[in-house]
Symmetry: C2
Subunit: 463 residues, 2 copies
């Protein structure tokens, strides 16, 4: 019982550790589930936000998760379900009783149902769509007909509209007469007679304007619409760039079909960042919920590609076996040149990949950025050349080794700067995600150039 | 003139290329500025959003930027100014005429003024605060008294409040009688007699409820408050985790001092991600606007640390000079072991750092994650051991070289998996940002373990 007490003691405290589900809570839930104590489990869940219960289910071992679901499956409502990570969602859904699942799904808005089921297989999708009432079913099937990751998947269909000629009084009376307004809305969208959105008015502005003011006189400048097929990443970018709160979605004819709100755009922005970070780290798509076997399967291809490039670098080294056999100091020093190149290349690449993602690196300034990276590579190259020249000389007592490593350092850091910025730009031109593939290419360049320059120079100078 | 025409042709088109400021537009602005054609420059700016004009100023060369500001400095309003990247903000502000700057600043809300000036030096700050009217000046000085990166800096002070006992009609009448409602607001905050926020009601819910309904009966469950000193990163996390639209900020006594809205939280989420990505890439804090010298200065420390660890790895290699001199094949193959370890370590580390940032990796599941990484490291180690064993045997015709590289591969991938997850966890415990420092430690481990295992085994088996 001490766990619950500890929890209740500081419900308002918002320090970092409170966001993380403290292990106390997780352990209390696991203990209750293992002991089959339903009341105790409910007591643990009671003060938690649905998003935190979902996190808890993600953090426990598979067996414990199943025990929790078996004991308190009917506690899982639509909100918890839609918060659960996609990687374990199908197994959670499978563990729920059909009528519990149906109840959970029915309480969701149609856009949340779409979000819930779009990652599931067709069979599970069908089973869930079946339990919806007709209106929701049509809405969900309509949404699923739009491309994956499109504005059409992201939008909600419930919107509040007004003809352009209305005044504030008309709008207020109209809204107050309706009894099925959306749960969350921030704007009234003005539409022309063909149902095409032309501008919008915020509720706050409406509240502070006199009844006779025309809606068209208090519209917001920030108004912009999205195509129903537009990529959700671009939508999220535009929300952040232009400070949008909500934006109408239109079909090919420009007619209003739904609305996207900033909370959904924020979630997408977060997902896109997550994807970028993981791809830059050579991981692709994985989460903590994945099993050992799953992560081995997901990481293997990246390591295999790396092995191929590492072997390529070794082939370069093998060209210079003679000089390596003659001067063993070269074998000791050569990883330094490659390592510095790899690091400098990763620096340039990280900046370039990020700048492409934030649309800051464009054709307009590409040349300036390339020149800057080359300059920085050269400059850092000279600095570290001096340092390493001295290290090489002092360590091995041979001035020429110092010279060789110094020159190789300059060459490789220049190559690193150029490769780091050029490779992402070229990949982006070919519509390949720079975050996905740049790393391998950049380190291949710096390894090959580094070993080739260092050992090549050495064989010219020292043999 | 063709540039402007091309722009106007597709003002509604929302493809990816339209978000990026196309070079046409940038070039047109630069040409106009160089030619001193003010009308032409205005024509380029006219259709652009303030955020895009700010991007344009960031993307041009320094000389061109100054030419643009000289020609059309008075075009720069508060909105453009507050969108400009912090790295060039001070130089832009310096280039503006004092009265232009004063005009731009006066039109901003107090929270935007804070955001604008918090990165500036004291002198520039003072000059800007001076031009504000008394009310705004007090608000800005109050905000600056809160810690940097705190909720107090992020919040706006304009809030709409209501006593808890009011009904819907009271609230609507009250709002409609006011003439200084905030420009953007989404909730009415209920406060107790001591001015402490207790819950809130959305404007949409207010519109759809009958006049006699009590406000306290239609409050939102999502309500939560932030401490004025709370870290802005934690605020952004909470907005995303709990789907908040706005949240009151309270002082030590729990009294309402302001409100944070989701658009500001989204901007912070974006900045935090940016910081994480750059730190993971070993760059720290930099933007495309930085000059060559500035980026050399910022990247140098990271490269210097890397040099130190690379020399450490070389020292390990130098222990085994004898075996390297005897079997030159080892020098050819040894970078492969280190490279695979480095990659596998980066994979584990990326997942761990991200999971710590998203509060998914906690004390509750740390042991499971460590076990999983060790398992994945071993499994991938065995797979690549077999592959490299064969490669080594075929390439150099010596079975024992194949065995040595195979065993070293297993050892190093296990080390990589463990270091990749343990190092971020330990750094986080010591309150050091894992994104900042993990990379160096992880590659040091994989380099040292890789070379030591490979060459150590070789000297036992082959000498």
């Amino acid at each position: 019982m001490s766990d619950q007490t500890a929890l209740e003691e500081k419900p308002e405290d918002e320090t970092e550790d409170d966001y993380a589900l403290r292990d106390r809570v997780v352990n209390a839930a696991v203990e209750a589930a293992r002991a089959g104590e339903r009341a105790q489990l409910e007591e643990v869940f009671e003060p938690l936000h649905p998003a935190d219960i979902a996190d808890l289910l993600e953090q426990v071992e598979i067996d414990d998760r199943n025990a929790i679901l078996k004991l308190a499956g009917d506690y899982i409502d639509g909100e918890i379900l839609s918060e659960i990570d996609e990687d374990i969602r199908d197994s959670v859904i499978e563990a729920l009783e059909p009528e519990v699942l149906a109840g959970a799904v029915r309480e969701l808005e149609s856009d949340d149902v779409v979000d819930l089921i779009e990652g599931l297989d067709t069979e599970q999708q069908g089973a869930i769509i079946e339990v919806l009432d007709v209106v929701d079913r049509i809405a969900v099937e309509q949404a699923l007909s739009y491309p994956e990751y499109s504005a059409g998947r992201l939008m909600q269909r419930e919107v509040v509209i007004a003809p352009e000629h209305w005044n504030v009084g008309d709008a207020i009376d109209h809204m107050r007469a309706q009894d099925d307004l959306p749960e969350q809305f921030y704007h009234i969208i003005l539409v022309d007679p063909r149902h095409r959105p032309t501008s919008y008015v915020t509720l706050g502005r409406l509240m502070s304007s006199r009844r006779e003011v025309k809606l068209s006189d208090i519209t917001e400048e920030s108004f912009r619409t999205f195509d129903v097929t537009e990529d959700e990443g671009d939508v999220a970018y535009a929300f952040n760039q232009y400070h949008l709160i909500s934006a109408p979605v239109v079909d090919e004819e420009g007619r209003l079909v739904g609305i996207i709100t900033i909370d959904d755009a924020m979630a997408i922005l977060d997902e896109e960042h997550e994807e970028d970070v993981l791809r830059l780290g050579g991981v692709g798509d994985e989460s903590l919920s994945n099993s050992t076997l799953e992560i081995v399967k997901r990481r293997f291809p990246w390591l295999a590609v790396n092995l191929a490039t590492a072997i390529l670098a070794s082939l370069v080294i093998s060209i210079f076996e003679d000089v390596l056999a003659a001067v063993v100091a070269l074998a000791v020093l050569m990883p330094i040149v490659a390592s510095m190149g790899g690091n400098a290349g990763t620096q340039s690449m990280t900046v370039a990949v990020r700048s492409i993602a934030t649309r800051d690196l464009t054709a307009a300034n590409a040349f300036r950025v390339i020149r800057r990276e080359a300059g920085a590579g050269l400059l850092n190259g000279f600095i570290f050349a001096v340092v390493m020249g001295i290290v090489g000389l002092v360590w091995f007592g041979q001035p020429m080794i110092g010279v060789v490593i110094a020159v190789a350092m300059v060459i490789n850091l220049l190559a690193a700067g150029l490769a780091g910025v050029l490779i992402p730009i070229v990949l982006d031109r070919f519509k390949i995600d720079p975050a996905l593939a740049s790393g391998t290419f950049v380190t291949t360049v710096t390894d090959v150039v580094g070993f080739f320059a260092f050992l090549g120079l050495a064989s010219m100078v020292l043999l």
